[in-house]
């Protein structure tokens, strides 16, 4: 029997004792566990997505308050509307915006904090920075004119370049798809909050500056706005709700933003990779489904824990719905009304109807609002059958 007699022998014996055999390939694994791949690209309730949902809910609530307040102010003479209209008219002449947003909230007894910096330069440029403990962890720059997006991860020196040619959004007036463009609604929302904050709390000091502090409140939240007395523009806004506070600070409207903040070339020492390009059909389907799912959430806001029985029950004009349901290249959408419980991210709510499974798969929308492409029919069937 050959056994090791010295260190070299031991090394050799160990190598030979564990001779590597054929290992299962990825295709072997896929044949057995391919269903797991359907989870890729599907957002879970991470801190960031929780935060986005919070922002979405907050936006819906803000819009509702805004509409109600607008009607009320209109009946009273419309003074806040006039203020807002003036501020908006002034701001839309501006072409730059930047602000820092910090949201602190308590969930399951634990305090969480998310920070982002938003900048844009009209008509096409946008930059978003995600921060953690004051350090930038991710930068996203989008040029809607050149139809490209660049994501940077400074800590890893890695860059991700994405083709934005086939990224669409829905025109709410018509229900038609259009190429996604720069969204300035964050600025408009801040200005509307400023216009509504009519309770004057007097002159206060903010970062060494004398500013005017105003407030508006209802049973759900308190909004405070710090306004520069010279420019009359907001420089800080806070929104306090039970268990949640959002502070939008360092607000700068129409101040110089250097072009190099929006460059799409990653620094030279970054490793760069890229996303595959979406086809126009896939891009349009994504936009339509996301919009319809958002409208399902609007419905659910009015009918707690209930999605609409049919898509025709959504709060959409018939012609808008008709356009939304007209799919590129023909075809139709199927709606499966879900029960609002369990893992909504696994419940197919909308999907392309098919007779024969298309070679490039189908697009499906899920109960948590995300949309994804499903390549294999068996994966789709598993999702449907597992409901």
């Amino acid at each position: 029997m050959n056994v090791p007699v010295d260190d070299n022998d031991l090394e050799t014996s160990l190598r030979n004792a564990f001779v590597r055999e054929r290992e299962p390939s990825f295709e072997d694994w896929r044949a057995k566990y391919g269903d797991a791949l359907t989870q890729l690209g599907r957002p879970t309730m991470t801190l960031t997505s929780k935060w986005r949902i919070q922002i979405m809910k907050w936006s819906v609530a803000a819009l509702t308050v805004f509409v109600i307040a607008g009607v009320w102010m209109f009946l009273r003479g419309g003074s806040a509307d006039e203020v807002f209209a003036q501020a908006l008219a002034q701001a839309t002449k501006a072409n730059t915006f930047s602000a820092d947003e910090t949201m602190t909230y308590t969930q399951d007894g634990k305090q969480e904090r998310v920070q982002q910096r938003i900048m844009f330069k009209q008509p096409h440029l946008e930059r978003q920075e995600i921060l953690k403990d004051g350090q930038i962890t991710e930068i996203t720059i989008t040029d809607y004119g050149k139809r490209r997006r660049l994501s940077l991860q400074p800590a890893e020196k890695e860059a991700w370049s994405s083709d934005w040619n086939n990224v669409y959004e829905i025109d709410p007036e018509t229900g038609n798809v259009r190429l996604e463009k720069l969204n300035t609604s964050f600025r408009e929302e801040l200005l509307s909050l400023q216009a509504r904050a009519v309770q004057d709390l007097g002159e206060v000091e903010l970062s060494g500056r004398k500013v005017r502090l105003t407030q508006s409140s209802n049973e759900k939240r308190v909004v405070k706005v710090w306004t520069d007395p010279q420019t009359r523009r907001p420089i800080q806004v806070s929104i306090s709700r039970p268990n949640q506070e959002t502070i939008i600070s360092s607000i700068k409207i129409d101040e110089e933003l250097p072009d190099d903040l929006f460059h799409l070339d990653p620094p030279q020492d970054y490793k760069i990779s890229s996303d595959g390009m979406r086809t126009p059909r896939i891009g349009q389907l994504f936009a339509k489904m996301k919009y319809l799912l958002l409208k399902c959430y609007d419905y659910e806001a009015q009918h707690p824990k209930t999605f609409p029985p049919r898509l025709t029950d959504l709060y959409l004009k018939p012609d808008v719905l008709q356009n939304l349901l007209t799919l590129p290249g023909g075809g139709r959408l199927e709606y499966i009304r879900p029960e609002i419980n369990g893992e909504m991210s696994k419940k197919v709510v909308l999907h392309e109807a098919y007779e024969k499974w298309p070679a490039d798969g189908i697009v499906a929308g899920f109960g948590d609002g995300h949309v994804q492409r499903i390549q294999k029919e068996e994966d789709f069937k598993q999702l449907i059958n597992g409901r």
Binding site: M1, D6, L10, L40, Q372
Partner: protein
């Protein structure tokens, strides 16, 4: 820009996979399969069972990838999943008889001396066994082992040296190998 997955870090592959890029997950699978097999083998001492455990670990990792906040920790995270799954399999199959025997049957034509070595590795403390198996069964580098075990490459070197000393001592005690008259 053409993506060369093999050149990308675990972190960026995890992020891409989270966006739905199957090729990135395939690269993670190819890159870390041997390590996962090694981790599972440490618990199960059976190659076929280790393959099952490793594959199931990748399935669980795939389903929960979005929960991994730091993609750089993918190997360590995967190793933890694999340890848990292999442990569960070991417990579930304990009543089917000793696993080492199954391995011995599967390797009936193997050189007898290698069986002695494998048996000696089996007797090592878990910490030592893990580095030996990852080094010689998985053929992982010191750096890869360090990532999987969340320790430094220097610590890997130290553990390997000690593990080999323990092996030599074990073999000698049985009247085999080093310093055997």
């Amino acid at each position: 820009v053409k993506v060369v997955h093999a050149e990308l870090s675990d972190d960026i592959l995890v992020k891409a996979a989270c966006r739905g890029d199957v090729d990135s997950f395939a690269e993670l699978y190819q890159r870390h399969l041997a390590m996962a097999l090694g981790i599972a083998y440490c618990q199960l001492s059976d190659r076929a069972l280790a393959e099952d455990a490793a594959q199931e670990s990748f399935a669980e990792a795939c389903r929960n990838l979005q929960k991994l906040r730091d993609g750089r920790k993918f190997p360590h995270w995967l190793a933890a999943i694999c340890r848990r799954i292999a442990g569960r399999m070991k417990k579930a199959r304990r009543h089917h008889g000793p696993l080492v025997e199954q391995e011995q049957v599967a390797r009936a034509n193997d050189d007898e001396s290698y069986e002695v070595i494998r048996a000696a590795v089996e007797r090592l403390p878990q910490v030592s066994k893990e580095v030996i198996v990852l080094r010689y069964f998985s053929e992982s580098t010191h750096e890869q082992i360090a990532h999987a075990l969340n320790i430094t490459p220097a610590a890997v070197h130290g553990r390997l040296t000690r593990a080999k000393e323990q092996l030599k001592h074990d073999l000698t005690r049985q009247g085999l190998g080093v310093n055997t008259p």
